[in-house]
Each structure stands twice: as C-alpha cells, then as structure tokens.
Symmetry: C2
DNA sequence: CTCACGTTCATTGTATACAATATCAAAATC
DNA sequence: GATTTTGATATTGTATACAATGAACGTGAG
C-alpha cells in the first residue's frame, strides 16, 4: 500500500490522533517499507498542512476551533464560487454526474438508518462526490486542486456523526436545489444555496465542538 | 542550499523552463547532494503543483493561457475576500506593515526607472509584501497558506516586465486606496478595489500572452 | 528542591548500493 | 515503408548504512 495514502487515511479517520508523533522507523515497520518512501510521503503531507514539525520530526496537526472556522469560511467562499461558475459552464455530462451523486446520496441516507461506521463512510463519500461534481462542473481545474486540499481534514469526516436523520434529509433537499439552479443556469441562486449549505455544516460542527468542550470541562470537574 | 528552495526559485525565475525534465541525478550533482533530499524536494513541489509527472520522473509544469485565467480568477476571489476581512479585523500593527510595504513599493518604482532584472525583482518582492500584508491582516491563516500556493507561478513574476511606468504608478495608487479602505474599516470598498486591482493584472498578463502568441506565429510564417 | 550542565541515546538527515522498469533505438517482421 | 519486437541503457524506486543532531535524563551545584 502507498505510504502517503495510508498515513493520510489514518489521520482523516482519526486513527492517528492530533498531536501524535509520526516516527519514520515506526511507520516503516508498520507498512513493511524502508524509511525512504515514508519520508517522501511525510514531505507531501507536510506541504498539504496535514502534519506539522514536532520535536525533531513531524506530528499530526491538531485543528483548533478557530482553524475549523477559518477552513469552513474558506470552503464557503470557494464552493459557492464553484457553484455559481458551474451554473454558467456546466455541460450535460456534468448534470448527469450531479444527478447521479444525489441519487446515491439519497440511497445512502435512507439505507444507513443505523448510522454505524460503514454507513457514515458511505454518506461521507457520496456527499463528497456531489460537492466534487459541482467543482468539476465549474470549469476551473485550479479551484478543484486547491479545494481538495482545503476540505480534507479529520473534522469534516467526523461531522457526519453529528447529523440526525432530519438534518441529513434537509441536506439532501439543498443538494437538489443546488442541482436545479445549476441545471437552469441560475448562478446567483446556486451560489447562495451553496453558501447557506456549507454555513449550516459549519455551524453544526462548531456547535458540537462547543458541546465536546463543555463535556470535557465537566469531566475535569468530576476529577 | 536547500534543494526545495533552489528548484522552486529556478522555476519561478524561468531558469528551468516549462516542460523541462528534472532528472534527480542531474539536480543532485548541481547542488552537491545525494538523490535522497532531491526526491523529497520534488515530492513537495509536486504536491504544490509546480512540477508534474513527465516520462518516468517529473518536469516543470507549463501553464496554458486558460490556466493563467483560472489562477487569476481564483486569486481575485481569495484576495478580494482577504481585503474585506482585513478591513474588519486589522490591528494597528497590520496598518504599519501595510504602510511600510507601500512606502517600499513607491521607492522601488521610482528608483528602478530602468526596469532591469534586479529592479524588477525588487518591485516583485515589495508588491508581494503588500499583498501578503493584506492577507495577514485578514486574520485567516488558512487563507494565507493556500494563497501562497496559488500566487507563486512563473508568469506572475514575469508579468512585471510588461508594466510601463504609468501602470506601475497606477498600481501604487490602487494600493493606497486599498490601504485607506482597510484603515477606515470599509470592507466593501477594500474588496472591490482589490478585485479590480487583480483583474487589471490579469488582463495585462493575458493581453501580453496574446502578443507573444502572435509574435510566435509571425516567426513561424517567416520560417 | 530547582535549575544548569553534560552525557547518552533515539531519531532524523544524507549518501550509496542495488533492484526494478520505462524509454529509446535498432533490428526484424509484415 | 510502416509497425512490432526486443534488447541495451538510463533513470527511478527502495533498502541500508553511516553521520549529525537534538531531546531526555541523570548528575551535581547552588
């Protein structure tokens, strides 16, 4: 398995926790590789900002609430722009991709009522598929390139744990609205709908981070 | 010297031309290093999109006119947002940085009337310093991080060759307007001024790329 | 008990050797 | 003459060995 993909996945899934040191020798043994390819993988992850210098080597970057806010604001800016551009430049093929992604999203939501690990992963994947399809339809490859590095943070993955059934249904509805706006070539409507959509995700995540903080404080008090 | 910095600089300055293959052994000899650190540098540059796979290894990425358009559009979006945020969040220290950058810009423009290589480099540096100061004042580190990877392309450096004295003076005036808007906490004015400013840069670059294209076509005809 | 210093040791940084393979070119086939 | 095959060669991919260095810990002085 590719070292870069592996380490990245472990970080996103939270298996490698924030602040955890990534020793080259340890990773090399775990992946049955020498240190050379490990070092190259780490250099890439460092360029993406997923790991940062720690002690002499690197460790998994931890994101503060302020980081999350900034990242979501950036994502809002980029994706709402992508949506408006998509409404201008979209082809028929783009529309098929978007519709397909939403159908899969609908299935994933209704199928995975239990919201277990595999169900969540499925939802995360097809949700991502829709958002990627919007960016792909925007006709700006560089936007796609940069956005792919903005979105991939552990917290985005985990955020779907915190969605209830109603919120998932609602998010599907917004996806459909965005799709319609792109289909009907209404850039402003697409932009605003996407803007609102991501802001809702942002608020949800930030609210739950507050809850976690509070529950941690309560635990401290018990001690 | 650090391999990453060296290769990056060569690409930005145009010493390593687009499409040129970057052989590990060659670079290693040139920098008196082994292949190991060279490979790591290349992996980083690849993650940033400055080099792309070519044959078995990598080569300097070449940017089409469409790429340039997309990159400038992205930069416009991000920097005009940065300007509006800067007008909200700027501190007194930020204002000092901005003012200082503009003073240096003014000096560089008036000093380097000849527009030789060192004069251009000076102008590029202080111009960048102003734009970075705006982003720094926006209070969004992630914006700063991503923007630093959007802007650094060879063409941006070269674009200053194509500015005449009047255009340089004009660009200084716009910098001052942006500064005033940020100082007076007028987000919308800052946003629009920055938007227009970068769009002018964009049009300038694209126009000159057309000229180059035409002159190349003429050369072909002569042959 | 606290802090400064120095030694030890784990870990990264770099070089080199070897293995794997894509590229290029020449020869063979159609 | 065009196309495919095949082999030589240059170049990357990986492993390993050694050098450099900084973090951790113990020791001793204040």
């Amino acid at each position: 398995m590719d070292a870069y993909e592996f380490i990245k996945e472990q970080i996103i899934l939270g298996k490698f926790e924030p602040g955890m040191r990534l020793g080259e020798e340890t990773l090399a043994k775990e992946l049955n590789l020498s240190r050379t390819p490990i070092r190259e993988a780490i250099k890439q992850l460092e360029a993406e900002g997923l790991v940062i210098p720690l002690k002499r080597g690197v460790g998994v970057r931890s994101f503060t609430k302020e980081d999350i806010r900034q990242i979501y604001d950036l994502r809002t800016l980029l994706e709402s722009y992508a949506a408006s551009q998509a409404a201008i430049h979209r082809t028929e093929d783009d529309l098929l991709e978007l519709e397909n992604a939403n159908e899969q999203y609908e299935q994933a939501i209704n199928h995975a009522v239990s919201l277990d690990m595999t169900g969540i992963r499925k939802i995360v994947n097809v949700n991502q598929k829709f958002h990627e399809a919007v960016v792909a339809a925007s006709n700006n490859n560089h936007l796609y390139f940069h956005l792919s590095k903005v979105v991939v943070i552990p917290i985005v993955f985990r955020s779907f744990y915190w969605y209830n059934d109603f919120q998932l249904q609602q998010s599907l509805e917004v996806h459909k609205i965005i799709f319609e706006a792109i289909k009907n070539k209404e850039p402003e409507r697409a932009r605003i709908a996407m803007h609102e959509h991501i802001f809702q995700g942002r608020d949800n995540v930030l609210k739950h981070l507050d809850d976690i903080e509070i529950s941690h404080l309560l635990k401290e008090e018990v001690k």
